[in-house]
């Protein structure tokens, strides 16, 4: 949900946040998201050391994971999470259609799942600290692989879900930047390699500990700080354990409840707004025609009808690949917003060209033609201005 649809700002028929509000939202999303992405990256890097040995994981724990327990970073992380979640809810509210591209859908679902999956882990570590123990990997791997393997399974799911959500966000942000093709060459392998190594490290570390449990050879920690058990008052232990079980449930319920509320509010907004129909005709190569409800952007209409259309930034108004030439019905269209105008200017577009992802057709008939083919066979970046300004939205 990061980098949400800021284009709604230009919609004339929907009351929405002012353009600067949308921009602010986007900025907040990207900044908070990046903070959490850095955290996840470091955490996964730490996990992947398990492929060598649990000891190595442990040796690097202070640098890769421990720093995030320091007062400042911990606070930053928590604030980021809350802001990110709230802004995501606002963006969800303004979404006009849920027939969104597969990547956005994956990101959205992954985002909804994060808090329910994350709870046990986060509150579990908090409880361990409250018990006066050190959250060593030796302890946690034992917890996840031997004591409650079901939680271990949940961790794998969470790792993947969180990584997919973050990676898609960073990917969308990177893709609209200049020189994205070069960055992507490194980003793609990185985005696959890190979670795979982390999972393998997690599995291998677990295996080393399981084989000890089953009476074989494996890893036993030397100088275990938790050797002597909890240092907290023994009477408080049941209470802490109870809290560790209770808190994740509350967090899950609250987050899912909020999402449900927002979805209901969004449905209400869309229900009230239902309006006319527009007849869209695509001419040129792959000609087609369809009818759709107004209120959606042209790209959303295309997606609702499962038709091919070029859109690299997936409707964020940044890449300019969804441009269409308006042949008929252009007079009823609202003028381009500031962001759309900037993107169009970057492509030195003709006056009759618009972005399909930003343009909201009104009632009546519209005839357009794709500027860039859906298979990108005629995409030529050299047509953009050489002194390109930063794409809008990329901070």
């Amino acid at each position: 949900m990061m980098g949400s649809r800021t284009g709604k700002a230009s919609m004339p028929d929907t009351a929405t946040a002012s353009p600067w509000g949308a921009k602010l939202r986007l900025k907040a999303m990207i900044i908070t998201g990046m903070i959490m992405f850095v955290f996840i990256t470091m955490h996964l890097a730490n996990l992947s050391l398990g492929l060598h040995s649990v000891q190595l994981m442990e040796d690097w724990r202070w640098a890769l994971s421990g720093v995030w327990s320091s007062a400042v970073l911990k606070y930053l992380l928590q604030v980021s999470l809350v802001i990110h979640f709230i802004v995501a809810l606002v963006s969800l509210y303004w979404r006009n259609t849920l027939r969104i591209p597969a990547y956005d859908m994956a990101q959205m679902i992954a985002g909804m799942l994060i808090i329910p999956l994350l709870g046990t882990h986060v509150f579990g570590v908090m409880a361990i600290k409250e018990l006066g123990l050190e959250p060593t990997y030796y302890l946690l791997l034992g917890q996840f692989w031997i004591v409650s393997p079901f939680n271990g399974l949940q961790q794998i799911l969470m790792l993947v879900v969180a990584w997919i959500h973050g990676a898609i966000g960073v990917y969308s942000w990177l893709q609209a930047r200049d020189g994205s093709a070069r960055i992507m060459k490194f980003f793609y392998p990185f985005v696959v390699a890190l979670p795979i190594l982390a999972m393998l490290g997690y599995v291998e570390g677990g295996r080393q500990i399981i084989s000890v449990e089953e009476g074989g050879l494996g890893y036993v920690m030397e100088n275990d700080p938790n050797e002597f058990g909890p240092t907290v008052d023994p009477e408080r232990i049941p209470e802490i354990l109870e809290q560790a079980k209770y808190r994740p449930k509350v967090a899950t319920r609250v987050s899912l409840g909020l999402i449900g509320l927002v979805l209901a509010a969004r449905w209400l907004r869309l229900y009230r707004r239902r309006s006319g129909r527009v007849q869209v005709t695509y001419s040129g190569r792959l000609p087609t025609a369809f009818e759709a409800d107004t209120g959606l952007t042209l790209l959303e209409m295309v997606h609702e009808n499962s038709l091919p259309h070029a859109n690299i930034c997936r409707g964020r108004g940044r890449c300019g690949t969804c441009r269409v030439r308006v042949l008929k019905g252009g007079e009823t269209l609202p003028p381009p917003s500031e962001m759309e105008a900037q993107t169009l200017a970057r492509w030195k577009a003709e006056p009759d060209e618009r972005l399909a992802c930003q343009m909201v057709p009104n009632d009546g008939a519209l005839e357009v033609q794709r500027v860039i083919e859906p298979d990108y066979s005629d995409l030529d970046y050299s047509k953009t201005k050489s002194d390109a300004t930063d794409p809008v939205g990329a901070s």
Binding site: L153, V192, I196, Y202, L286, S377
Partner: protein, 768 residues
């Protein structure tokens, strides 16, 4: 007609599509049963190895091997005993089924006991974790691969494709890209998993599931290859997007059900197999009950899928499908599935696999034939469209030119050349080839399912082995001969059909000799193939063909001696024809005989002399042959003129005549190099000989010569050039007193003396 074809195609495709998925049932039903037999434990293997090392066992093994190295088997069973054994096996199977039925209520309890005894809870959950982890690793790697393949794939899917061949190439490329991803997925999931050491049971379970996921994806990719539900341009089957999506969905459900059933039954039998050693007792009955239950579920799902597909597809199709054929194929498939299940249930595995394979081979064959036909129809139609479009553009251009007044008077309107289907010869060959492959595949599957090693049949003395051997040999021989014959026949027939007999007065093209040769070749080929096939079938059936061969050899020698010259004629004829020494209608010279070739037969040719005589010449008699009708003919003419003739004038006049000849509308085009003077060729006693020559196409020279003579004489006459006449000047010494009469007599005598006595003219040169 097209409607009917489409009906059949769609219904057959539907059936055929479920077929491969249903084929997955074999290992499910049969394999699950086999898997009940526990795999040998490590201890058993050790024990076996120890026994092998034991000298007494080695001694016994050596003894039991007879001198020629064949291990003696027990006495072969008589037919009655075999039937007895079969029946008792069925009875036993029925008893175990009854036992399994009785145990059903206790099943969950027994199973959970076994589960818990074999795997702890944490191990179970961990297995799940491992499955998830390694699936995700495989998917991640595949995603990375797909990122780099994204744009080529998009381009393949969206680029418009006109010709079916382009579609096929595109579909293959796409399938290749997707299979590349699947390979990476396999390496990432199964490969990564195998690189660790695991608890053996956990390893087996996880591997089973990972392999099943891979298999499922392979099945779906194959469905994608044909149906391409989301990429219309790559669809190879003749129906629309809704049907493709529906059938793809059905395929997904079927594949999922079958493979999940397979995986579960593998898993159960593994767990039971592990447990059987320590517990024993009713566990095998439990396993059987579970397998039957799973198989029943799979069969029900398959039935449901068939039913739904046959209900939905006609509704989704725009045009009407034949209701009767749909009903027939639906009942056929449902019946087939039921029959397979029943035979499996009573334990007749060999019969079950035979029913399944043969039952599926029939619709597959129909489906494949229809599909190939459709493919070729499409290709031909696409070419036809191109052809028509090209002709239309040409016509349009002509009309435009005509409107602009650029067309020369009398220029004919362009006529589109007739459309010729270039696939006419390929289609039957592809059909036969595909049929051959399919038949061989079915036989191989059958052999595998019967446990017969197809490559070692000659060592197999059992009845099944012998029967299969004869069957396979005969089928291979027949199908191969059929393939060769179809190919040769279509090629020959097409060439013969394309042959156009020459229009009267025109020289025939080189096709004429093939027209003679091809029917002969076809007959020879047919006879040879027939003999070869029947001999190989006979020999594979165990008939000793040596006497037949010997008899044929003796007969061949006898006939060969008797018809020595006939054989020589035929063979020589074939080579003359291949050499292209003469064609129908050509004027040739053979020894003393001349004439134009009137007919060419297998043994001899017939030439007609220009005066009507017909010569029949056997090819064996031909030593050398002169052909007068090839490419060009030079003809030289001579004129005798007096010594005082102006040679420059002669040259000029001849040139003029040459131009006139060239301009002649009848034979002008036949003149390759027109009449020209060669100057004085030689001097004679009383005159000069002026030579002229011209070159024409064969056959034209006579007419040109006639006109050349006539025109030259006329023009010489008109320009005062006299043809030289022979004149004798007689000087009579002192003959001033002679009278005129005496002078004449003297001159005559002198001429006679100079020339010799007058003789009758010689024969006219032999020319047509």
């Amino acid at each position: 007609m097209i409607g009917i074809l489409r009906t059949v195609l769609v219904s057959i495709f539907l059936i055929g599509f479920t077929a491969p998925v249903m084929a997955q049932m074999i290992p499910n039903s049969g394999g699950a049963e086999e898997a009940v037999i526990p795999a040998p434990s490590p201890n058993d293997v050790k024990e076996f190895l120890r026994l092998l090392g034991d000298p007494s066992v080695q001694e016994w093994l050596k003894d039991s091997v007879s001198e020629d190295g064949v291990v003696e088997t027990g006495p072969t069973l008589s037919l009655r005993e075999e039937i007895d054994a079969r029946l008792s096996r069925i009875a036993e199977r029925a008893r175990s089924l009854v036992l399994a039925w009785n145990i059903v209520p206790r099943m969950p309890m027994v199973m959970s006991e076994v589960w818990d005894s074999e795997l702890s809870t944490s191990q179970k959950v961990r297995s799940l974790s491992y499955i998830l982890t390694f699936l995700l690793i495989g998917l991640g790697l595949e995603w990375l691969y797909r990122q780099f393949m994204q744009y080529p794939l998009l381009r393949l899917e969206l680029a418009p494709k006109d010709a079916p061949m382009e579609k096929l190439t595109g579909a293959f490329l796409r399938a290749g890209i997707i299979f590349g991803g699947l390979g990476i997925f396999a390496v990432g999931s199964i490969g990564a998993f195998k690189s660790f050491d695991w608890h053996p049971l956990v390893e087996a379970l996880v591997l089973d599931f990972l392999v099943m996921v891979l298999l499922f994806r392979i099945v779906m990719t194959v469905s994608l290859f044909f149906q391409a539900p989301n990429a219309q341009e790559l669809r190879l089957v003749p129906y629309g997007t809704p049907v493709a999506r529906h059938l793809h969905g059905i395929a997904r459900v079927l594949a999922f059900a079958v493979l999940l059933g397979l995986a579960l039954s593998f898993m159960l039998s593994r767990v039971v197999g592990m447990a059987d050693m320590d517990m024993g007792g009713s566990l095998s009955a439990v396993a059987l009950a579970q397998t039957v239950a799973l198989a029943l579920v799979v069969v029900l799902i398959t039935w449901a899928c068939i039913w739904i597909a046959f209900r939905q597809v006609p509704q989704l199709c725009e045009d009407d499908l034949g209701a009767r054929s749909l009903r027939f194929w639906r009942s056929y498939l449902i019946g087939l599935v039921g029959l397979v299940f029943v035979t499996w249930l009573v334990g007749l595995f060999a019969i079950m696999s035979a029913i399944l394979i043969l039952g599926l081979a029939v619709p597959s064959l129909k489906l494949m034939t229809a599909w190939i036909d459709h493919f070729f129809d499409q290709s031909t139609a696409a070419l036809h469209d191109q052809h028509a479009a090209a002709a239309q553009t040409e016509l349009d251009a002509f009309i435009a030119e005509e409107a602009a007044g650029e067309v020369l008077e009398g220029e004919p309107e362009p006529v589109a050349p007739e459309f010729a289907d270039p696939y006419a010869t390929t289609r039957p060959i592809v059909q036969r080839g595909a049929r051959f492959v399919l038949a061989m595949g079915a036989v191989f599957l059958l052999a595998i399912s019967w446990g017969v090693n197809i490559f070692d049949l000659s060592a197999d003395r059992s009845f099944v082995g012998r029967a299969l051997e004869v069957l396979i040999d005969s089928i291979v021989a027949l199908l191969l001969a059929d393939l060769v014959w179809t190919w040769a026949k279509t090629v020959i027939d097409k060439r013969v059909a394309d042959y156009e007999p020459p229009v009267d007065g025109q020289a025939p093209g080189p096709e004429a000799r093939m027209f003679t040769l091809l029917p002969l070749l076809r007959t020879i080929l047919m006879v040879a193939l027939l003999i070869m096939v029947s001999l190989s079938v006979l020999s594979s059936a165990g008939v000793n063909i040596a006497p037949i061969l010997a008899g044929a050899g003796i007969m061949g020698i006898a006939i060969g001696f008797g018809t020595q010259s006939l054989v020589r004629d035929i063979v020589a004829g074939i080579f003359f024809l291949i050499d292209d020494a003469f064609r129908l209608g050509e004027y040739i010279e053979v020894g003393d005989l001349m004439g134009s070739v009137e007919s060419i037969s297998v043994r001899s040719m017939r030439i007609r002399h220009h005066r009507g005589k017909v010569h029949t010449v056997p090819y064996g008699e031909l030593k050398s042959l002169t052909n007068h009708s090839r490419d060009w003919v030079i003809m030289k003419l001579e004129f005798r003129v007096p010594f005082d003739t102006d040679l420059q004038l002669v040259k000029k006049l001849v040139k003029k005549v040459g131009a006139e000849l060239q301009a002649n509308e009848h034979y002008g085009s036949g003149i390759l190099s027109t009449l020209k003077s060669q100057g004085v060729r030689r001097m004679e006693e009383f005159n000069m000989v002026v030579g002229v020559k011209f070159m024409t196409k064969p056959g034209e020279q006579w007419l040109v010569r006639r006109d050349a003579y006539q025109k030259v004489r006329d023009i010489f006459d008109a320009n005062g050039i006299q043809m030289a006449e022979r004149n004798v000047k007689v000087e009579i010494a002192g003959g001033e007193h002679l009278t005129d009469e005496q002078r004449k007599a003297a001159a005559g005598a002198a001429q006679e003396a100079a020339q010799g006595p007058a003789v009758p003219p010689g024969p006219i040169p032999d020319e047509p």
